[in-house]
């Protein structure tokens, strides 16, 4: 850090790209996230954790059509099951998962989609994704939730359009 020395030049030569690289990456990720409209879960309200099963919409877990090509999955997680654990939607549907936990932490993760969200007792999770092609998407609980955690899973079955 003594001006005019060779070491100072080397330092400067490294410091400048060390600032430019992270800044460039940040710009890229912000542009990508907002440009592609991909969102992280945010603040979607609370639910009393001891009264999940009597609080709408969690008193009636299941898949509901809310518009043309639009579905809402109301999901309750608990040791060691998802309710519902089988979800059927036609190809091309936009599906919003509204989910919470009735006991310990769980997670909802559908690989190869942007559904990756923690299910936290007391919090309502809300994520939206699209299923364009027919096929099966397994989903897993990805947060340790006890001795049978590895048996907690389900499937989204995307059916061909009629």
């Amino acid at each position: 850090m003594r001006r005019g020395t060779t070491i100072y030049l080397y330092e400067l030569f490294w410091i400048l790209p060390s600032i430019a690289i992270p800044v460039g990456m940040l710009v890229a990720l912000v542009v990508f996230a907002f440009g592609a409209g991909v969102h992280l879960p945010g603040d979607h309200g609370r639910v009393e954790p001891t009264a999940v099963l009597t609080t709408p919409p969690f008193d009636q877990p299941g898949t509901v059509q809310v518009g043309p090509g639009q579905y809402e999955v109301r999901m309750v997680s608990g040791i060691w099951v998802f309710a519902p654990n089988e979800i059927r939607v036609p190809a091309g549907s936009t599906v919003t998962f509204v989910a919470t936990s009735r006991d310990v932490l769980h997670g909802l993760f559908i690989p190869r989609t942007n559904v990756n969200v923690m299910l936290i007792p007391g919090q309502i999770a809300r994520v939206t994704t699209r299923f364009d092609h027919p096929g099966e998407h397994p989903f897993f609980c990805h947060e340790y939730c006890g001795i049978a955690h590895h048996t907690m899973w389900g499937k989204v079955i995307v059916e061909p359009r009629l």
């Binding site: 080397y10 992270p22 969102h39 879960p41 932490l105 993760f109 936290i120 590895h150």
Partner: protein, 553 residues
Amino acid sequence: MTTGTRAIDLKPEDRLTAAYLVVALVALFGGVVLGLFQALEHAGVDLYPRLLPVIKSYYHGLSLHGVLNVLVFTTFFIAGFLQFITARALNTPLWSRSLAWATFWVMTGGLVLAAIPLLGNAATVLFTFYPPMKAHWAFYVGLTLVVVATWLVTLNLVFTYRAWRARNPEVRTPLPAWMALVTFVMWTIASLGLAAEMLFMLIPWSLGLIAGTDALLARVLFWYTGHPIVYFWLLPAYVSWYTLVPRQAGGKLFSDPLARVSFVLFLVLSTPVGFHHQFTDPGIGEGWKLLHAFLTFAVFFPSLLTFFSIIASLENGARAHGGKGWIAWFGKLPWGDPSLAAQVLAMVLFAFGGIGGLINASFTMNLVVHNTAWIVGHFHLTVGTAVTLTFMGITYWLVPLLRGRQLWSRRLALAQAWSWFVGMAIFSNAQHRLGLMGMPRRTMIGAAPYVQPEWQSALALVGIGGTILFVSAMLYFANMVLTVVASREAAAVEVPFAQALSGPEHAPAILDRWRPWLVLAVVLIAIAYGPTMITMIRLVTTTPLTTPGFRVW
């Protein structure tokens, strides 16, 4: 480091460090043995039934693996190593040797208290403290005592520094001691979140004094500490890389001032970044998450400075050995020295760990990898190699120094370092790929009904890599034990403190001041956490906390 002073007897400090190392290495041993069983389980060889009735389940073993390796091994090693480094670099005894020993016993007592329920399957909650999953109160109290003991280390280091400063008012603090102090001060600020979670939620709740907790607030407090704790593990490795490795490589530290700049930035930026572990949590606004992503990228800057300084220092050493060319000099490093080889190999894998870390921190990109095996692959490169293999490398000179005997086998040590490197490359690569293929972490995969056919080949590699790592660890422990009990050749090892090409006198004076940086650190934390924390605390104090505890294992 300070010249012209008389020799001071630091044997008592050496004994203290030896005591910490014994506990650290016993913990590491237990942790890596259980690691083997996890890796084999993933590869389809479930040996857990053979461990009954001691280890009750995969998750019991996983809890022990995590707690012993990342909480116990690291904390004890760091406390022992950095107190040693401080005393040697300042050439002064610790401020209070009795406090230092009392601290050791508080930490060890806490460990024993936590270990009882952990071993007894009453704390099978992994190394995360996420209510409403409820462990035995002794687990929480014991680990809290370990954290309190680290604060006592900070206290002792601060007063040691002040005593030295009173005698040396004009001199720049020697770099190793200054870095050790920065590490513990950073950690003390960072550990307040975990302490608050323990003291106000988990301990009274597990004792039945309060009815419930709030799961999200607990996670926020946990991750307030949970990210900077990785810098608490990493910075002591950096202390070695900056202040010792250049000398071991036969050269000098490239720039002392640049080293100070990077550590000051770690002090300021390590803590206000925890939401990048909670990108997928509901209940935290997206804007705050983006701010934490920005600040995480800011911490990337001192990491890049470190990368440059260390490589330039290594190059300086290699060229002194006749190294030539742009890249070819790398081969001229003194690769026959196992301490150096272990640490340089740790750095090589850490480069990939750092790149992976940026991906984790990249806001929406985190959706691809969060809570998948990718993360497991990531932190086995960082804490599992950059930190662990470096600490192993340090013990290759430190244990001979403390024991006064030569390392039992240099060749065995070299084989250990290389096998760790190879085993981890295989293990970590497989875990990263499994994560991208959608395999969740913290899961008994061999028993999962949903294993996908495409995972199989990588799962086998997890088993192979894990087995190599286990063999490497056993080579390490054999060498350590034999050095202590069987090595006959006397050794007069010196601490390999490096000189700098551009010395501390070139550093701006403000880098040796504390107040401005501490104020900046607190302000950033207040901005990054304040509003979210206030809203949450207001909420949980106005609504009754009713979530009961669950024992789900």
